[in-house]
């Protein structure tokens, strides 16, 4: 298949940086430059390392090099009636596969179709010593050795440079519809549960403060039945697609980048959302909450912890506030020793996840 294999050059660059003890900042398309702590060092660009290496539609597997634009992968899948279930955002088609895996963020279907890591079957990785290794594979079940492939999802490039990824892909649904309903935000969780338990093919639930948006995806008759039974206002297909995409790619007016800071809260199902104030945008039937809060970072973190969740300062900076939710002492030690196990000289994306990671 097409594309360019630059793995050797990437390995050389990491080996050289390792030998010189000099830091590297891994960059895909750079669309996520705002996310996480700033990373020092020379740029290691993965965008030239591209191409779909293997796609077996009937095995539900796709393997591609990390620099491949997500848009290219989604187009190849769509040709076979398939999709990436976790709906990675790709902002004008620029985002790369490696960046999406390293960032580990999923779109509106996350609670119903699975996370980014749920779909990762295997990957190739260059560790901080410049060793190119392969973990997992192209088959659904891989328990041989530790699950290094899934460990790298959301690691933001702190454990290695991802050069190739194998993903589980799924058939695209035969039919999709979106309903807008006059239902208060506090009803997101119970209503969604009721729909799920009556077998409705729920594939996304969001609330913009005024209305609840319910997306249904499945077989033609299952979607048609649900639409006629649930009621509400069916959105025209193009409006619906634009709405979900605006959440996925954060182009919805709520995400106006000039209105920093933006918090992302990850909460257990059925959590009380009132302590987080307004304005907010609710996704995942209440399990992902976007909040703008400049005043009291401490209060937000406390409230998230009390609810059993976590709070990320997704966009913007606040003095003396770490981007990611603090870890307990045992987990921090494990994080530091794992970082050292992959990148003993601390040269890969130093400080991006937790500035203390390289302290070991």
């Amino acid at each position: 298949m097409s594309g360019k294999d630059q793995a050797d050059a990437l390995v050389e660059q990491v080996v050289a940086a390792h030998d010189r003890h000099s830091p590297l900042s891994i960059v895909g398309s750079g669309s996520k430059a705002f996310y996480g702590h700033a990373t020092p060092g020379e740029t290691l660009s993965v965008t030239g390392h591209t191409g779909i290496v293997n796609h077996e539609p009937t095995e539900l597997v796709l393997t591609a090099r990390a620099g491949t634009p997500l848009a290219e992968i989604e187009a190849a899948l769509a040709e076979q009636g398939q999709q990436l279930p976790f709906e990675p955002p790709h902002f004008s088609g620029l985002g790369t596969l490696g960046g999406a895996i390293a960032a580990g963020l999923a779109g509106p279907a996350r609670p119903y179709a699975g996370s980014v890591r749920d779909m990762v079957l295997g990957l190739r990785l260059i560790n901080g010593q410049g060793e190119l290794m392969r973990f997992g594979g192209e088959v659904m079940k891989n328990v041989a050795g530790y699950d290094v492939a899934r460990l790298n999802v959301g690691a933001l490039g702190t454990l290695g440079v991802i050069t190739e990824v194998s993903l589980k892909v799924l058939p695209a649904p035969a039919s999709t519809a979106t309903l807008a309903l006059e239902i208060p935000a506090s009803e997101c969780h119970p209503r969604t549960e009721a729909w799920l338990r009556s077998g409705r093919p729920v594939s996304a639930v969001a609330h913009d403060g005024e209305r609840l948006y319910l997306r249904l995806s499945g077989t033609t008759s299952a979607v048609a039945d649900a639409v006629s039974d649930i009621g509400g206002e069916p959105l025209p297909e193009s409006t619906a697609r634009a709405f979900w995409q605006s959440l996925r790619d954060q182009t919805h007016p709520f995400f106006d980048p000039s209105a920093e800071p933006l918090w992302r809260l990850s909460l257990p199902p059925g959590a009380d959302l009132t302590p987080f104030g307004t304005p907010s945008l609710i996704e995942w039937a209440g399990q992902q909450l976007w909040v703008r809060e400049r005043a009291d970072a401490h209060a937000i973190r406390e409230a998230a912890t009390a609810a059993g969740g976590s709070a990320t300062l997704f966009r913007g900076e606040l003095p003396n506030v770490s981007v990611f939710h603090p870890l307990d002492a045992v987990k921090m030690r494990l994080h530091q020793s794992l970082k050292a196990a992959f990148d003993p000289r601390g040269i890969l994306n130093a400080g991006r996840l937790y500035p203390m990671l390289e302290a070991a």
């Binding site: 539609p57 095995e59 580990g104 996350r110 699975g114 996370s115 890591r117 749920d118 560790n127 290794m133 392969r134 973990f135 594979g137 088959v139 659904m140 079940k141 891989n142 328990v143 041989a144 050795g145 530790y146 699950d147 460990l151 959301g154 454990l159 058939p171 695209a172 035969a174 119970p190 338990r197 009556s198 077998g199 093919p201 499945g218 077989t219 033609t220 008759s221 299952a222 048609a224 039945d225 990850s266 257990p268 199902p269 399990q287 992902q288 059993g308 969740g309 976590s310 990320t312 939710h325 603090p326 870890l327 045992v330 987990k331 494990l334 020793s337 794992l338 196990a341 992959f342 996840l353």
Partner: protein
């Protein structure tokens, strides 16, 4: 059992002074909590892979998390290895005791603390049996999806240890996809939680790392799992093929149509015959292969899919299609598949259950090679497998009383695993590596990858006390097995100790 498969010198390097340890442990573990006598320890000498037997030095049966913490702390201080054990049904020797080690039996951790029906979360002890979770959730219309065939016996802690799977995993995932949070004790005796009730947790995905780690990174003392609503409807059908390859193409065809069945299982002729003789399920004993397919969802979804699947099976040359008319028939269709192992146990003195995964398109080639390799070893092989995901379970028939047959079965097993790697698959699907497949790890992974695994292990357990000799081969072992990837005769990092 050949010595190469058990412990190597570097796995049993520990110097243990047992008497002071017993004295301290007795204080922590009252009554039957510490088993010292040989007769008591004998009960734990093997797991489901009974060809491997080893007496543990001691057996601890803690009842509280504090006891687990203290036992681990004391063992850590004394430099004594620890092997965790759930129900001991592992088929790869994962919970085989260590000769110089303490066996930590988690059987008394058997309480279901909470079924939170509104949020579909169950909080359970690690020793709770897999099926018990679904039974406790059933009154709320909920169940726990991963369903290993051993589900009446195996524990959820052991399921995490092996990342267990079952018939439902093509659609609903493996253990790793269904566990939300673990409470874990480190070898030093410290307690932490990994994962979260939310859909993600901050930091690195340690939760994924714990799955399939075979008790080598920490001891699990509590598990929170996701529950699912019972599907509203289920349909089960069975298709016969006069050629295994056609069955394989039919599986690909179903998936190409965009259908992911709740279960999709295949049996070859020998397995059909054995199962039919055992459970009288009404299987087509003239068929070279049968495919059992379960569809689940709402009435409308299942009806749509039923039509599509039947069309597809016919197109791919199914010689007969049977649809289960009622719940009794559905259970009967599944009964033979679920009882395939004991059914084979009736036709052969002994059998050895292998586990490997292949890309499904290689099925016909792999089955042909398995029959050739079987013939070379003079043994018969019966095949049942998870057709949807390419996970094979060849059952190698042998007679342990006939000299050389056990060794031949082992050799054949190893050859089958290497075949799986050769066609782009892996040496385990769902049974783990344990001691059984540790040599074949050297075939699947390069030296740098194995060293990376050791580095991860060291990050969690610097003293190397948790389940030594399992899952990740030492480089010495690979060298002996003839599979160390060495360049220019030089070992990478010669300064490092080879553990």
């Amino acid at each position: 059992m050949p010595a190469h498969a058990m412990f190597r010198p570097e796995d049993i390097r520990f110097e243990v002074d047992v008497d002071p340890l017993i004295a301290e442990l007795t204080r922590v573990l009252p009554d039957e909590g510490l088993i010292v006598h040989e007769a008591g320890r004998r009960a734990y000498e093997c797991d489901g892979l009974s060809a491997y037997k080893q007496l543990p030095l001691l057996v601890a049966v803690p009842e509280t998390i504090e006891q687990v913490q203290t036992v681990l702390r004391l063992c850590h201080e004394a430099g004594v290895p620890v092997v965790s054990r759930g129900s001991g049904t592992s088929l790869s020797g994962g919970s085989l005791p260590h000769p110089q080690g303490l066996l930590l039996a988690m059987g008394k951790f058997n309480r279901i603390h909470d079924i939170d029906a509104d949020r579909r979360i169950a909080r359970v002890d690690p020793g709770v049996r897999n099926l018990a979770i679904s039974e406790a959730a059933a009154p709320y219309g909920l169940y726990y999806a991963p369903d290993p065939s051993s589900q009446i016996a195996c524990s959820i802690g052991g399921n995490v240890g092996e990342n267990a799977g079952g018939v439902h995993c093509l659609k609903y995932g493996l253990t790793v996809h269904n566990v939300l949070e673990l409470t874990v004790v480190t070898m030093e005796g410290e307690l932490t939680t990994i994962g979260s009730e939310a859909l993600d947790a901050p930091g690195l995905d340690l939760l994924a790392l714990m799955h399939g780690s075979e008790g080598m990174l920490g001891v699990i003392v509590e598990v929170k799992v996701q529950l699912l609503p019972h599907p509203l409807t289920k349909a089960v059908l069975m298709a016969s093929f006069d050629n295994v390859e056609h069955g394989g193409h039919a599986v690909a065809g179903i998936i190409a149509r965009g259908i992911i069945p709740g279960g999709l299982e295949m049996m070859d002729g020998a397995a059909i015959q054995a199962a039919e003789d055992f459970v009288h399920a009404g299987y087509d004993t003239d068929a070279a292969a049968i495919l059992i397919c379960e569809l689940d969802g709402s009435e409308a979804e299942v009806a749509d899919q039923m039509t599509a699947v039947q069309d597809c099976l016919r197109e791919h040359g199914a010689t007969r299609i049977q649809v289960a008319e009622d719940d009794e028939a559905k259970a009967r269709f599944w009964a033979g598949r679920k009882a395939a192992f004991p059914a084979v146990g009736r036709i052969s003195a002994d059998y050895y259950c292998m586990d490997g995964t292949i890309p499904r398109k290689q099925l016909a080639y792999v089955l042909r090679r398995i029959s050739e390799l079987s013939a070379e070893q003079g043994l018969e092989t019966v095949n049942v497998f998870h057709a949807g995901d390419g996970n094979l379970h060849p059952l190698i028939l042998f007679d342990g009383n006939k000299p050389g047959q056990l060794e031949a079965a082992e050799t054949l097993g190893s050859e089958i695993l290497q075949l799986c790697v050769e066609v782009g698959g892996t040496v385990t699907g769902e049974h783990g590596v344990g001691v059984e497949k540790i040599n074949e790890m050297c075939v699947q992974f390069a030296t740098s990858e194995i060293e990376q695994f050791h580095a991860i292990k060291q990050a969690f357990d610097p003293a190397g006390l948790l389940n030594p000799g399992k899952a990740i081969p030492t480089l010495n072992r690979c060298a002996e097995f003839g599979r160390l990837h060495v360049h220019n005769g030089e070992l990478p990092h010669p300064e490092l100790e080879r553990l």
